[in-house]
């Protein structure tokens, strides 16, 4: 029998070409799928993309002050610092007028900004403004604005105040990033190191990275055997053991941090026991808290479950027969572990390691409480500038650097281990 193959288009029962009909159905599915994920998309945009975008914008934004003193800055740019010690009369005149006619609140905001560039701006401008208002009220126009302002306050003859304008004359500026790295601008607008006794951001960055790496490492060392035990014990025992892991995990962060203080302080439990055992003399008690050691110990314990749980869920599904097979084939237990078991736990180690590292690098409350003299991490300074100095530009720069560091680590991780090789369960 001969089979007739139609060369005409395939039609559905409705007479519409099949291709078209399929396409239509597919499009409908696509739209439906989009609407299904739309809430999630919206959520991500609102809670993630917009805030991070805002942070990145703020870290380079310096436009507010430029709207308050536009003419002064315009004239300032013309000042040849090699030629004259002080800015020309026009600069003084425009600043005078802009202070006299400006909106009080806008000037107030600008003042906060100026004070980051040089401490003392705030009082100087406020005192000067009061005098300027008096002069304007009297209705007299100064012969020389420069002399008048210097007469009001001798600091107007101090070029270092004027030099600090360099940091503010552009609407977009990288000064906050430089500040976050212990650097600032000199009178020529070149990047120089901050005063020696003020340099502490770089130190804090290094400490933050160091502590995060150590914490991740210690968590891995401590968490691996526990996770292995959990995964290999009979269910009865492993459930009980799991509770020991989860109970502290569910306990308040503050309670755990305070408990560590009680344990570690010089008159605390550990020192007490060591002295009682005669290992330490009463005068030789070790300082284990209110410093970097305290931060390390407390953070390791607090972040440990984030390492154990992903490790455990990966280890649980590794068949026991693999190790047996390897040993059957002649590998010694250590070799079997190294070549057969360990590689299979890499997804768990990666997930745990990345989780712990990300959490550690931005950690705030625990270092704040047990950090004392040299255990504060970068989060301390972000909080300080957010709340106390209101220097949100610097805050945003610190936050952005943290983000970049994270992305670099992510990239490195992807190169070395591969991001597909991550598994939470």
């Amino acid at each position: 029998m001969e089979v007739i193959i139609s060369t005409a288009e395939l039609l559905t029962t409705d007479g519409i070409p099949l291709k078209q009909s399929l396409k239509k159905a597919e499009r409908r599915n696509k739209i439906r799928a989009f609407f299904l994920v739309f809430p999630l998309l919206l959520f991500i945009v609102v809670t993630f993309v917009i805030p991070i975008g805002d942070m990145l914008m703020r870290s380079v934004d310096d436009s507010q002050i430029n709207t308050v003193f536009p003419n002064t800055f315009e004239e300032y740019k013309k000042w040849d610092k090699g030629e004259d010690d002080l800015p020309p009369e026009e600069v003084y005149k425009n600043l005078f007028l802009e202070l006299a006619n400006g909106d009080k609140r806008q000037i107030g905001k600008a003042l906060t900004r100026m004070n980051y560039a040089k401490s003392g701006w705030k009082s100087l401008i406020k005192k000067t403004s009061r005098e300027i208002k008096k002069i304007v009220k009297k209705g007299e126009e100064p012969v020389s604005y420069k002399d008048t302002m210097i007469e009001i306050n001798k600091f107007w003859a101090d070029p270092t105040y004027w030099y600090s304008f360099n940091q503010m004359v552009n609407e977009r500026s990288s000064i906050y990033y430089w500040n976050a790295l212990d650097r600032t601008y000199n009178e020529e607008g070149d990047v120089i190191l901050q005063d020696e006794n003020r340099r502490m951001y770089i130190k804090t960055w290094i400490r933050t990275l160091k502590v995060s790496v150590y914490v991740t490492f210690f968590c891995l060392i401590l968490g691996f055997p526990v996770a292995h035990l959990l995964a290999n014990l009979p269910l009865r025992y492993s459930n009980l053991l799991m509770i020991f892991v989860l109970l502290p995990f569910w306990t308040s962060l503050l309670v755990r941090t305070t408990a560590w203080i009680v344990m570690l302080q010089q008159n605390g439990v550990i020192n007490g026991v060591l002295v009682w055992l005669g290992i330490l003399s009463d005068d030789g008690r070790i300082q284990m808290v209110y410093n970097e050691t305290g931060t390390l110990i407390a953070m390791t314990q607090i972040l440990l479950p984030f390492m154990i749980l992903p490790l455990y869920s990966v280890m649980r599904v590794i068949p026991k027969s693999h190790m047996r097979a390897a040993q059957n084939l002649g590998a010694k237990p250590a070799m079997a572990f190294w070549r057969v078991y360990l590689p299979q736990t890499i997804p768990g180690m990666s997930a745990g390691g990345l989780l712990v590292f990300v959490l550690a690098i931005g950690y705030f409350i625990t270092p704040e409480l047990v950090g004392g003299k040299d255990g504060q991490l970068i989060g301390h300074w972000i909080a300080y500038h957010l709340k106390t100095t209101l220097n949100w530009g610097l805050c945003a720069a610190l936050g952005s650097i943290l983000l970049f560091v994270m992305l670099i680590f992510y990239w490195l991780y992807n190169k070395i281990v591969g991001i597909d090789n991550i598994k939470l369960g």
Binding site: R105, I107, G108, Q265, Y290, K373, Q376, H385, L390
Partner: protein
Amino acid sequence: MSKFIKAFLFASIIFAPFAASAVTVASWGGAYTESQKKAYADTYTDPGAIVFENYNGGLGEVRAQVESGSVTWDVVDVLPSDAITGCDEGLFEDISAEIATSAAPGPDGESMLEDMENNGLEYHSGWDCCVPQIFWTYVVFYDPDAFPGEKPSSMADFFDTEKFPGKRGIHTWATGIIEKAMVADGVKPTAVPTVLANQTGAIDRAFEVMDRIKDDVVFWSAGSKPLELVKSGEVVMAVAYNGRVGAANLAEGENFEYIWEGQVLDQEYLCLMSGAPNRDQALDFMFHASTPEAQAEQAKYITYGPMRASGIPIIQNNEPWGPGGVDIMPHMPNTPERLAVSIVSDPQWWSDYGAEINERYSAWMGN
């Protein structure tokens, strides 16, 4: 669903906006806010109209609320440097005209601002937007049992670990400690702000003094810590908020001694948010909370001193003022004789130089 429930839900949606019209006061929480509730809200004509909310200080949340246009607080309890910045930036409303007309005068007819000046304070721009609360101080205290022989009595003793061996507890930021170091270096306490503002190298001098105890310092950042440190014997002396020490002495039966010399008085204000949802009632409450009587009342519950000078005689003349018949005056930081050996911290100077000094302080701490 029954009709009743439906009606109830409907009604609650309709009336919810009206129910939320209480004046919201953001304050620091803990024993301090408790004392404010008792002294200010409970004595107010309509105690139910005042709601306290806790916050962590600083202007971060204030600025976020004002900038985003969704102001939910009416009144904020702030430090003087924040009062100044907030008022300059327009985060707080300028109420200087209302203060001039409506703030309760002192007993001799002096205006509220004059009453504050009688307490050693100077005008700053925070006074345009805020009303005074209390003086709190960074004071050094110790457990007398830790010193069987001679007891420390001055700032020089605090910074001298040879004469008085043992660790010292100080805080992780610079305010207060810089001033104390200047006193230990021989500057007359009341002159410290002037010296700091005008003498070049004054800060270096303070850091040199602080270097003397650096190896013997335990740093704290939470207000409850210095008391734990002294109680557990971790340190022999510590800087603390005097209200915490007072509470330990009065309520917990401790016997801590204060070193009043070189105490650093800091101020506390109630400021009106720009765009406060219940502006008029909030203002009324602020004026109630800044009367000398209300301020003296607060001292019953926490040992911070009235910022209006006329609040002190009220306590003095009515001892025992504290609950349970205890005398409060021994714990008040701003009696005239204690003011003579104290520093009134200069908020304007700190808001100028605070960031720079704190960075330096942190570098000093970590070295």
